[in-house]
Symmetry: C2
């Protein structure tokens, strides 16, 4: 459970940056070196390394260094736990607003002069 | 588009903390004051106010102050954009790994002495 919580903290944190979401979408099309990614996102190598490191910690990306080139590819995590959390929350949300709708409908009925 | 990006930054950021996810789940069951929430999560009022403020900025929570009590309830955002982003990423991911599977299958066939 503690690990699950830490994974969600890390993964939602990793997704909270537009560049990092962009890197994932790009790696979804093809592997890329840190240099490729830095160029594509108009960013310094140091800046891109930090982003990749956060994605790596979250398990979304793996990297491999061959010679001077570090290649990044998508990791094994398919965001299943994140999708499940969001889906559970959406169900809670809908249930909550259904209840509120019922309360409002009930009040409306009571307010009608002929309502009983 | 810029607003959409900022919304995703804010909302994934808001979700990257276990307490904030817990607050959303709790508000999915019933409205609560900041004091209720601070007690429930064993936290100072100041700490809880910060968390609620982040959830409010992300549009997940609305608050209303009546007298000295600030009541928190779920906001109107149902995480539809976040669910859609994750779903699009998952499809990219699956497509990418399908391609890799094909490449590996192809290599295996070529390696077989009788493969052609």
């Amino acid at each position: 459970m503690v690990q699950y919580i830490a994974r969600l903290d890390n993964s939602f944190g990793a997704l909270s940056d537009a560049t990092r979401r962009g890197v994932l979408e790009r790696l979804g099309r093809a592997d890329a070196s840190i240099t490729d990614l830095a160029d594509a996102f108009d960013m310094t190598l140091t800046g891109m390394k930090k982003h990749v490191s956060i994605l790596e910690t979250a398990g979304f990306v793996t990297t491999e260094k061959v010679g001077r080139v570090r290649t990044c590819r998508l990791g094994k995590r398919i965001l299943d736990e994140e999708a499940a959390w969001i889906e559970r929350y959406r169900r809670l949300w809908e249930a909550r607003f259904d209840v509120l709708d019922d309360v409002i409908e009930d009040l409306k009925q009571k307010e009608k002069p002929d309502g009983r």
